[in-house]
């Protein structure tokens, strides 16, 4: 039992089987794929959140960043800016907004909860101030990315899978990735061992911002319109996914595979409950219970692992 990913992994299988039995319209692969596009944005934000949480921080501003980027991109497109330029601009804007969080956290040594609580309000505020109550329409050629398939997957899902893969490699197979874990495990020790702690933090927030920018593009294209008050609370959905996937809210622990699986778990459970016409209030209750149960199970698994390790060590007795 080396990792904690088996928890969401197994739950997905159980949920798939359960819902297929409950609702005859559930197990329709085309529908499940099409419906997954609704969760791609949450997934991208959760991938970024995985980095930030592992460094021992949190980013509450991802949803607002996504909306602000989405709004600004829509404005750009509306004013006749070529699509490829607008897409590039969105990626840069998202990254800058994210890096600003990181800079405030790292250089000014402010708690990330406070900084991002502030930018959460600030980014949405800017979006509202710039656009007012009206929504911006996207040009027709920009719309409907969720309707196009690429190697059998709808584009938003493909982008999420690729983002998880690339970010998983960065997190688990590079020096930067090791630094992310080190900063989250013990910041002072990391500093004394020569890890550029500030740079790691800023980069983690910037990557999250980049992914928020991409999410903004997906949202724009999926809805065909954008407004300052869309997707409220999506930051909490992203945190839920990361934590359900085994990322420790205290930092230093977690994996991209866990986040990846947890997104599908949440998507499968929400879709299944929706098709079974489970009322919204019960859906929330069930998600809540699931989260707490997963947290308990993971704590329990960690405890067992520690005992197992210490048992292994004890036999080193004089022969």
């Amino acid at each position: 039992m080396k990792s904690r990913e088996w928890i969401p992994g197994m739950l997905i299988i159980v949920a798939l089987m359960g819902f297929s039995k409950l609702s005859p319209s559930f197990f329709d692969i085309n529908f499940l794929l099409a419906n997954s596009t609704l969760y791609a944005e949450i997934g991208l934000l959760a991938v970024g959140m995985t980095f930030v949480i592992i460094t021992g921080n949190i980013d509450l501003s991802v949803g607002s960043n996504m909306i602000l980027t989405g709004c600004l991109t829509a404005k750009l497109l509306e004013s006749g800016c070529p699509m490829i330029v607008a897409i590039g601009a969105a990626c840069i804007m998202g990254t800058v907004f994210g890096a600003l969080n990181g800079w405030l956290v790292a250089k000014l040594e402010l708690p990330s909860f406070l900084v991002t609580l502030g930018t959460m309000a600030f980014y949405r505020g800017v979006a509202q101030a710039m656009l007012g109550p009206a929504s911006v329409k996207l040009p027709p050629e920009f719309k409907g990315v969720d309707g196009y398939m690429f190697i059998g997957l709808p584009w938003p899902l493909f982008i999420f899978v690729m983002a998880s893969l690339v970010c998983g490699l960065i997190l688990h197979c590079t020096v930067f990735g090791r630094w992310v874990f080190a900063v989250g495990t013990n910041e002072a020790a990391s500093r004394y061992s020569g890890i550029p702690v500030d740079r790691v933090k800023i980069l983690a927030f910037a990557m999250t911002g980049f992914l928020a920018g991409v999410s903004g593009l997906l949202l724009d294209s999926r809805l065909g319109i954008v407004r300052h008050d869309l997707s409220r609370g999506i930051e909490l959905d992203a945190i839920t996914v990361a934590v359900l996937g085994g990322v420790s809210i205290l930092g230093g622990k977690g994996s991209m595979l866990g986040t990846f699986l947890a997104l599908f778990l949440i998507a499968v459970i929400k879709t299944g409950m929706g098709l079974g016409n489970v009322k919204a209030e019960y859906q929330l209750t069930i998600i809540g219970v699931l989260l707490i149960t997963a947290a308990l199970a993971m704590n329990f698994a960690d405890l067992m692992q520690m005992r197992y390790k210490s048992k292994k060590r004890t036999p080193v007795s004089p022969a």
Binding site: A34, G224, L230, T271, M273, L275, N277
Partner: protein, 350 residues
């Protein structure tokens, strides 16, 4: 020991699945359409709102009368995007009619188009997709707002024998609905029937309890011959009721002068239930949310069965009711204002 953990999780999940089973309700019929009954779903702004529960009651009434299956599924919070997954899930469940009170006039466009492309009838209920009417088949709105002013004047007139001074307690000076209704009242007053009724003042309580109370107190002291007050806003009406109850100047109250002051306006029954029981307010009005559900249920199933075609300018004959005019853009008004008083308020809970 570690081998027990997976078992533990599986057990928990199975327990979890077990509890969802009863609420899953009616099993979805197979896609082949073995069930001949049409399936209608209503998506409110959010769950747990008594107003939308009334709309649902109207749908249920229509469901028993016209023989369709009715279900309701709303988001936990009234967020513009929270209705999107529900629309997609209902399309997948294979419903025939989606009635929705939209949380956004445009964020649902793409999802509703998808539904309509599959032959599902989409009806906007209570609020229209303003500016995006092409993304739904028909809209069922509460009542013709042009008739609210005249209807309120008539209600007050009847209670004061069409004679005496009266005032209006409104919300803010720039509220479009309020101003349109006040204009409607002024126009109605030109009718010789109301010649002896005189509008002496229009006060603005800004839809704040405290300000509305102060304004109401001001009206009572400034106009000693006042016979009536109309407050076409539920906040203003509730505040005015409180002031009138404390001063005892209502009809039959301890301090009533020359017959007492008649207070009326627009409000939900829940907010004025106590006042009506005590006699502080005799009657007031509001549109009927249930009528909207009933009409939408009827329209949806008729349109799906192609038994009905909507042409603006014509009328729809609804069983057991007056014919309803089809307005421009396929907008229909569910019915006239309903008057609530001691005799009927117990039947309404919203």
């Amino acid at each position: 020991m570690t081998k027990l953990i997976p078992l533990f999780i599986v057990a928990l999940t199975i327990v979890g699945c077990g509890t969802t089973k009863p609420s899953a309700g009616t099993p979805a019929p197979p896609a082949s359409g073995a069930s001949t009954k049409l399936r209608v779903v209503y998506i409110p702004k959010s769950t747990g709102n008594p107003y939308f529960n009334q709309v649902e009651a109207g749908f249920e009434k229509a469901a028993t009368e016209f023989g369709f299956e009715f279900d309701t599924q709303g988001p936990a919070a009234a967020d513009p995007t929270s209705q999107l997954p529900i629309i997609k899930e209902q399309v997948q469940r294979g419903v025939d009619v989606i009635a929705i009170t939209p949380n956004s006039p445009d964020a649902l466009n793409e999802a509703l188009d998808e539904a309509r492309a599959k032959g599902i009838i989409v009806i906007a209920v209570d609020a229209d997709l303003t500016g995006n009417e092409s993304h739904r088949d028909v809209a069922v709105l509460p009542t013709d707002f042009a008739l609210i002013g005249p209807s309120q004047v008539e209600l007050l007139g009847k209670m004061i024998n069409y004679e005496g001074d009266f005032a209006i307690l409104s919300a803010t000076t720039d509220a479009p609905n309020q101003n349109a209704w006040i204009e409607g009242m002024k126009t109605a007053l030109k009718d010789p029937k109301y010649a002896k009724m005189k509008l002496v003042s229009i006060a603005y309580g800004d839809d704040e309890s405290q300000k509305s109370s102060t304004e109401m107190e001001g009206l009572l002291t400034k106009f000693p011959n006042l016979r009536g007050v109309i407050s076409p806003t539920s906040v203003g009406l509730a505040a005015a009721t409180q002031v009138l109850e404390n001063s005892g100047e209502y009809v039959g109250g301890a301090q009533a002068k020359n017959g007492g002051i008649v207070l009326t306006g627009l409000s939900t029954p829940d907010q004025l239930r106590k006042a009506v029981e005590k006699g502080v307010v005799q009657s007031f009005q509001l549109w009927s949310p249930a009528d909207m559900g009933y009409l939408a249920g009827y329209l949806g199933t008729q349109l799906k069965d192609k038994k009905l075609e909507l042409k603006s300018g014509e009328n729809v004959e609804v069983p057991g009711g007056k014919p309803i005019a089809i307005g421009a853009n396929n907008v229909l008004f569910a019915g006239p204002l309903m008057t609530f008083d001691k005799t009927n308020i117990d039947q309404y809970h919203f």
